[in-house]
């Protein structure tokens, strides 16, 4: 089976952590959608609607721009210094102006992909 990257919200990251208590998953790679709100060299922060922030560990060739809506594909990892969970970026997609996106629709998509799991992701639990 090819790589699956579930679409999630920040609150779901813990379930995809490698040491997650919910059992081994096929993937620790997830998709997130958020607005770039801070850029600090090799890390960045995205804000996911009203669902909180996520710290990204960037690739050297990541080119993010402040204030843009981006979709991130990345691995869930521990942040240095026990600051919780972050995402190591594998790839990003720039969707432009956050105002053009109905974030509520994305929240529904995340909900639908978990409720009607059969057509989106293999279940390994």
């Amino acid at each position: 089976m090819s790589l699956q990257t579930p679409r999630v919200l920040p609150a779901h990251l813990h379930a995809f952590h490698p040491s997650s208590a919910t059992g081994p998953r096929a993937t620790h790679t997830v998709r997130l959608l958020g607005t770039v709100t801070a850029l600090r060299g090799d890390t960045a922060t995205i804000t996911c609607g009203n669902n909180g922030d996520v710290t990204l560990l960037l690739k050297p060739d990541s080119h993010l721009q402040m204030g843009k809506l981006i979709e991130v594909v990345g691995k869930v990892v521990d942040l240095e210094g026990g600051q919780g969970l972050g995402v190591r970026v594998l790839g990003t997609m720039d969707w432009g102006n956050p105002a053009d996106c109905d974030y509520k629709a994305y929240e529904y998509v995340v909900e639908a992909t978990h409720r009607v799991k059969g057509i989106f992701y293999d279940s390994n639990e």
């Binding site: 090819s2 790589l3 790839g91 969707w95 109905d102």
Partner: protein, 285 residues
């Protein structure tokens, strides 16, 4: 059995069917009619669904959720583009899986590339040049397989730039999946509210029928099973119930689909088989 045919003759009187011929219309007309209908549908799916689609027999249309889905559309990121002399092959990944998409070069559109109109701007040409690596694209096409490899023969591959369209597509795919596996949402709510009203009217339509006869506790089922159940409920019949072929003819459905719907109803304990395995009656208690 004889009782069943008697009714068949009666109902066919208007339509001009003959006694023994009852089998033939069901066998010959329904499958072709069904095909024509389903080939027209364009179904929104996820890549995983496309990969999981099954063929009832080799060379048949692919089925998703037991419904024909030859023409599908999906949205995903373009992970690879390889241009060959006869076709362009894309690898599309929507987060649920990855599938190959082949778009055959159309000689007529290739010609038009050389015209002045096409030269005026990128927009004048086909949508193909604008598809970017790692950008999103929407694909319309038919499921195919070559050897053991599944791919999509694309009619259209176009770039997708509005993220809302991506989200709507995923929600649509989920909604259509639920429609085929659990039936339409409408009748269910009607059954709740229309129950009291439907009680008097025997000949009410659609979901009202369950509300009338069976209270609200009708389990989720496929639309075909619903129709078979409705027919069994409303059709005058002897205590032997109705034969599968007769149901197929009345509903104008292929016998295989009716048979499958029957299995579903049998499993759910809503009907029982009478004189033979293919004759069913409503299980009332």
């Amino acid at each position: 059995m004889d009782g069943g045919y008697g009714y068949q003759n009666n109902s066919y009187g208007g339509g001009g069917g003959g006694g023994g011929g009852g089998f033939m219309p069901g066998e010959t007309n329904s499958p072709s009619g069904g095909k024509g209908e389903s080939n027209q549908t364009l179904r929104p799916v996820t890549v995983k669904q496309a990969l999981d689609a099954t063929q009832p027999y080799p060379e048949a249309n692919y089925q998703i959720d037991s419904a024909d889905a030859s023409t599908i559309c999906f949205v995903g990121q373009v992970r690879n583009i390889s241009s060959q002399s006869t076709n362009v092959t894309y690898k599309i990944d929507d987060g649920t899986g990855e599938i190959e998409v082949k778009q055959w070069n159309d000689p007529s559109s290739a010609d038009s590339m050389d015209t002045d109109e096409a030269k005026e701007g990128d927009d004048g040409g086909s949508g193909k040049p604008k598809i970017e690596l790692n950008g999103y694209a929407k694909v319309y096409g038919k499921l195919k397989s070559f050897g053991n490899k599944r791919y999509v023969g694309a009619q259209v591959v176009r770039p997708l730039t509005n993220i809302n369209e991506l989200h709507v597509h995923l929600l649509e795919a989920a909604a259509v999946h639920l429609f085929f596996t659990r039936g339409p949402p409408g009748p269910k709510t009607e059954a709740g509210s229309g129950g009291a009203v439907g009680k008097g009217g025997e000949m009410s339509m659609g979901g009202g029928d369950y509300a009338a006869g069976n209270n609200k506790a009708l389990p989720a089922m496929s639309p075909v099973a619903r129709r078979v159940f409705n027919l069994l409920k409303n059709e005058p019949q002897s205590n032997e119930g109705l034969h599968m072929q007769l149901i197929a003819a009345k509903l104008n459905l292929p016998a295989t689909e009716v048979s499958r719907a029957g299995d579903e109803l049998l499993t759910a304990g809503l009907v029982f088989s009478t004189v033979d395995e293919m004759t069913w009656a409503i299980l009332e208690y």
